[in-house]
């Protein structure tokens, strides 16, 4: 299906001065797609040129449309010497290839240069005309929609979930090619940016093809990762879940689950269904009870035919973390697998079999773990890597689960109203448990058995009953290791891994009990490898599930219980622990109803159980759920150090934090929202680091970062940090500095967003706090109450035009539209009316004047702000007013202070959307999907 791409260069503004003599610039623009290049005229002597070019037309295959970005280069014309480049803009055409996504890209883009950062802005207009598809052996997959969101996007309804899709492409990293020695840093950075852009385009297209083959038309929970393997190359992987309305594809590792509507006819029906997938008002009323799954594909439901391949036969994996009610039947627990590999040069980029095989292996393992837990599927699945020189740790984790088979076959069921405790019930056979656990009858239905604790990687299901509030729980761990090479190094790391996992798990368990909670959601364990240490960081959101039994207390037992002094010490410690537990119960408002003890231990003798468990873990990787120290009556033997560490946790009033989408136990959200990114690098300067010393430092670092966040955001109190996402890395030593001092860096890259909520109990208090937050937030929310009444009582069109006019009459010409960003899949208090396409951007920034730019912090601060600006500009150009499911996947930072140089790579992704405030929506129902959306967006936010 060939197409015609049209681009028009309208104007530029705030250009840098390129001619020192005149303090002006003679700018012109090159527009390049594939191998075709067009140029505008030179607009002489201006920093705000008006090119107003003709339409530049490119006739191209849709395969290229998917792979290639539109490349716009702004240059300064020079009569005597070579033209100087001012900067570039890469525009991903993909959102224009879906009929229901964006129709055009139009707006101001920052002109970006990898050395100088943003240098002015350019106004561009891009359109695509697609011809009908005539070729059945197509290589392209136009029309398959991609979503980063790990739930069914809110204005769609999944008719069916197909399952896992994965793909990976490899290439040589331009940074490591011989030519890099002779070209400028700028040329090398641009080559790299372009290559990665091409690779992710290709990857997305290939995953799209797989989805079409499966009969899906979308990928949800699309997760794409880059592995910068240095000399050995560059891998881009993606996983996702194929579904009828959304598709996820990721290169290498994870699987995507697709919820596809009738696979075959989905393709034709989607475009033709005249009220596009999201018909805002109708679904609302229909599904009023069940949150906000909009029906996009409702018309198809009638003619649903069984999809060709229902659940993906090979890997029944789902990258989703949030499911329609009734989808999850039982949840078994976390399954994870890791393996350590030695990287070698990728010889043939066209056959990335080695990498494929590695991941295949790991997925098989995950599958067998799930089976051991009596589950046939894995949900909340993700994959990651950590690379240090030639050693690479591949990790995958997910949650074993039993899914409602009807979803796989027939798609969504509206009538499914599962019991709120169903997912807690054990999926495995109680007489043949894969690991030792204390079972009790469910505290809600009293009919089925439940475990005493539950760890999962998914979000808390909406139907789950929770006692009290949740909180962020982290386990942190450092392990030193000897510096080694190759095989020896890999072996050393593999030997350490099980111990680390075990210890992280114990820490999590202790902290959970200390908070008197019994379940973890959104568990994410990251193991990073450095030259002489391994770092483990586990984050999760703890909650008290009403269906599960109350957690037992923690008992301190001395190792040598002879000494009297020691006993006394233990006793005081025990008291402190008990006090903390009581205090935490207050803090998190956990007051479960007293219940009679009815322990139903499994009748299988202990020995047999442990044997069973070992058999599962014979593979080098281990099941997380294995923990010998489970059990209510079990004593925890804690070392003194670790006790104090876990007791002295930091609590700040008015602040809550979690790493899941929503905070369990808090329901009254306001629309105030602040997304932020925080990066820290520490330098350790002592050669004789011990495990314990490192642990202490690492814990302090994390706690300090959290404290800093609380302080920064204090004006938003009461508020909640949701989706707090910590990432740690131990950069390679050679990148840091030479010399006698041994240096280690820990980079904590939290991508956190804040949400205000009202927590009060009395009504008055509620209102008081509400107004307070409004002031703390920003004008948009302030304006809203005043403008609303007029809009409401006036007939629709009038109200609309009035608000439009008011926006136009703003004094400063064209104010920049506000674009919200959030790692959540929704915006509180609003309704997403349209998904415009996926945002997936990769940037490199380099400097050779580090000191002049304010040192490393100044450099990175500026770069992150620039990345935000470019994301916002792209979203605004698509006509959107927010990015949801935003995440910063990669933030690699390297410096060489001696040469005054630094380089940073950032990869961000998310879904561009249009949202309307819930209150506005009633007033403006059917217009939403029409072309005027951008103006509405501006109303809501300016």
């Amino acid at each position: 299906m060939p197409g015609k791409l049209k681009a028009k260069i309208v104007a530029g503004r705030h250009l840098p001065v390129m001619d020192r003599a005149s303090d002006l610039t003679d700018a012109f623009v090159e527009v390049k797609f594939g191998n075709t290049t067009f140029k505008t005229d030179v607009f002489p002597k201006s920093l705000n040129p008006q090119w107003n070019s003709e339409w530049f037309k490119f006739e191209v295959d849709d395969e290229d449309l998917q792979d290639e970005p539109l490349q716009i280069t702004v240059l300064d014309h020079d009569t005597y010497s070579a033209n100087d480049a001012i900067g570039k803009v890469y525009i991903d055409i993909d959102p224009l290839l879906c009929s229901e996504a964006a129709t055009r890209i139009c707006g101001w883009f920052p002109i970006y240069d990898t050395i100088h950062g943003i240098r002015g802005e350019i106004n561009v207009l891009v359109k695509v005309d697609l011809f009908n598809d005539l070729n059945s052996f197509r290589q392209s997959s136009c029309g398959v929609k991609f979503f980063c969101t790990t739930s069914i996007p809110r204005c769609y309804r999944a008719a069916l979930v197909h399952g896992f899709v994965e793909e990976l492409v490899v290439n040589e990293d331009p940074e490591y090619q011989w030519i890099d020695r002779i070209r400028t840093p700028r040329a090398s950075n641009e080559a790299r940016q372009r290559l990665i852009s091409l690779m992710s385009g290709e990857l997305q297209r290939k995953i799209g093809l797989k989805v079409l083959e499966m009969g899906g038309n979308a990928v949800v929970g699309y997760l794409q990762c880059f592995d910068l393997e240095g000399e050995s190359g560059l891998v881009v992987r993606a996983i996702g879940t194929a579904s009828p309305n959304t598709n996820t594809h990721s290169n290498t590792a994870p699987a995507s689950n697709a919820c596809n509507s009738p696979s075959k006819d989905s393709k034709e029906t989607l475009p033709s269904s005249s009220p596009p997938p999201f018909s805002p008002s109708k679904p609302c009323s229909r599904q009023s009870s069940s949150s906000d799954t909009d029906l996009s594909l409702t018309p198809k439901m009638g003619k649903t035919s069984p999809p060709p391949h229902a659940p993906h036969p090979e890997f029944p994996f789902f990258t989703l973390t949030c499911f329609p009610p009734g989808f999850l039947v039982h949840v078994g627990g976390v399954v994870s697998a890791r393996s350590v590999k030695l990287l070698d040069r990728i010889h043939n980029p066209d056959e990335p079999e080695t990498r494929d095989a590695w991941w295949e292996e790991i997925r098989q393992e995950i599958k067998s773990h799930a089976k051991a837990l009596g589950c046939h599927a894995v949900v909340g699945y993700s994959e990651s890597t950590s690379i240090c020189e030639e050693v690479c740790i591949l990790s995958a984790s997910g949650t074993a689960a039993m899914l409602n088979p009807r979803f796989m076959r027939e798609g969504c069921l509206d009538d499914a109203s599962p019991p709120s405790c169903g997912f807690c019930h054990i999926p495995y056979d109680e007489f043949n448990m894969p690991f030792p656990a204390q079972l009790t009858y469910c505290y809600r239905c009293r009919r089925q058995k439940v475990p005493d604790v539950l760890f999962t990687t998914i979000d808390l299901p909406a139907e789950a009953a929770v006692t009290g509030k949740g909180c962020l729980i982290q386990a942190r761990l450092c392990r030193t290791k000897k510096k080694a090479q190759g095989e020896v190094n890999a072996t050393a790391i593999s030997n350490l891994l099980p111990f680390m996992e075990y210890e992280l798990h114990t820490q999590l368990m202790n902290k959970l009990k200390l908070r008197s909670m019994n379940a973890l959601f959104g568990l994410r364990i990251q193991i990073s490898v450095g030259e002489n240490m391994l770092l483990g960081l586990a984050s999760a959101t703890g909650v008290y599930l009403s269906a599960l039994p109350a957690p037992g207390g923690i008992q301190v037992a001395g190792k040598t219980p002879s000494d009297l002094n020691y006993d006394q010490h233990i006793a005081t410690m025990q008291k402190r622990i008990n006090d903390t537990i009581t205090k935490n119960k207050e803090l998190y408002n956990i007051h479960p109803p007293e219940s009679t003890e009815e322990l139903v231990g499994s009748p299988i003798p202990d020995r047999q159980r442990s044997r069973l468990f070992r058999s599962t873990s014979e593979s080098s990787d281990e099941l997380l759920e294995l923990d010998l120290s489970h059990g209510k009556k079990d004593a925890f033997v804690l070392e003194r150090g670790s006790v104090t560490m876990s007791i002295n946790m930091f609590v700040s009033s008015g602040f809550y934090s979690c790493n899941t989408e929503v905070m369990p136990g808090i329901y009254n959200w306001t629309s105030g929202l602040q997304m932020f990114t925080s990066v820290r690098v520490y330098r350790l300067s002592n050669a004789n680091l011990t495990n314990q010393g490192l642990n202490k430092i690492f814990t302090e670092l994390c706690e300090n970062l959290l404290k800093s966040l609380y302080f920064k955001l204090r004006s938003m109190i009461p508020c909640c940090l949701c989706h707090v996402n910590f990432t740690v890395a131990v950069p390679e030593e050679e990148l840091i500095q030479m010399g006698a001092v041994r240096l280690n860096c820990v980079c904590v890259c939290g991508c956190v967003f804040v949400c205000l909520f009202v927590s009060g109990s009395g009504e008055n208090e509620d209102q008081l706090q509400f107004s307070m937050e409004l002031c703390a937030d920003s004008t948009p929310s302030n304006n809203q109450p005043t403008s609303k009444p007029s809009e409401r009582c006036s007939p629709l069109p009038e109200g609309r035009s009035r608000s439009l006019r008011s926006t136009r009459s703003m004094p400063c010409g064209a104010p920049v539209a506000v674009v919200k960003m959030t790692p959540l899949s929704f915006l509180p208090g609003t309704r997403i009316v349209k998904y415009l396409g996926i945002i997936n951007m990769f940037f490199i920034r380099e400097t050779t004047s580090l000191r002049e730019e304010g040192g490393v912090s100044g450099f990175l601060h500026c770069f992150i702000a620039e990345v935000f600006a470019m994301v916002r500009a792209h979203v605004a150009a698509l006509g959107g007013n927010a990015v949801v499911s935003y995440s910063m996947k990669e933030c690699v930072f390297m410096e060489n202070p001696n040469k005054n140089q630094a380089q940073c790579l950032i990869n961000v992704s998310g879904d561009a959307v249009i949202f309307v405030r819930e209150s506005e929506q009633e007033a403006t129902p059917p217009l939403m999907s029409s072309g005027q959306i951008s103006s509405t967006g501006a109303d809501g936010t300016t």
């Binding site: 943003i118 602040q674 932020f676 330098r683 002592n686 300090n704 920064k712 948009p780 600006a869 916002r872």
Partner: protein, 359 residues
Amino acid sequence: MRMSVELDVFVGNTTIMDEEVYQFWLDGYTVNDAVKVRMEGGVLEECEASAEVLHSDTMDQYRTFQMCERLLHSPAKLANQLLFQIPPHRQAMLIERYYAFDGVFVREVLGKKLSKGTKKDLDDVSAKTGVTLKSCRRQFDNFKRVFKVVEELKGPLVENIRQHFLLSDQLARNYAAIVFFANNRFETGKKKLHYLTFQDFAFCAGQLISYWTVGAVDNMVEDMDVDLEKQFLQDLKELKILITDKDLLDQHKSLVCTALRGKTKVFNEMETNFKNLSRGLVNIAVKLTNTKDVRDFFIDLVEKFIEPCRSDKWTAGDMRLFLTHYTNSAHILDTFKHQVLWDRYMGVIKSCILKMYHD
């Protein structure tokens, strides 16, 4: 075991700014000083934060402000730049505060040429006023920037400043005064003038701009509000007759005395001094064609009029009464033909003197 923070960055999608820290930055505090003051201010207890946390936060904010500074130099850019997402009311706050200045500082440079030479002397000014050098430089550069921009614009001065720099009306008026003083190089630094505040001068500048400049007659010429009208200054020579013509002077005196008799406690002093005072005021008018005398305008007002009155213990009320009748009586003088010119001159003189006369 030691560790040091190598890099510490926090970036929000909506740029987070603390007004208090912004003020420290504007005032030229170093990060460490700002942290110290903040700690004393008690934020720590409020939020159980440590000094480190405060330091990190202050650094973040300082960096943000430094990056914004470039934009603040042409405030209109702040609204349509893409790098920072700042709500409009915050933008207004940033601009207004950035262009705000210290009264003590502006008194030191008011009427001076905004040149490199003056800038070099800023460390003396800083030492004298207690305003940090950094802050002095910012304020000085602001004056200079505004001066440069409006120099080339047509139309009313205050309005130009307001539109170009998006300032509040009050602040724009103050800048207009600064530009006006710098352009005419009025002497304000003499010891005798020390008692006058910037606001006194700003008021006088407003009067001069409104009534004595080219712009008071024609509102579409360049520099209309910064240059005094040449023809007007030339015409002022005609007023000389009020003091050179003996009859006229006596007539003027008796008219004023009749009107004031019994209405003021300083009548006798006024009567004795009338001729001197009148000579003083008219001589100022006559000499305004010389640039040098324009510069000394305020000095002359103080020396020739305000000081004599003050030594006679006139009240502000006495002053008002005298000036009103002094101005009005001239209209009744038979041979005096320059009523319009006289009103244009005396209107401004009267309000300036009243403002400058501190009891």
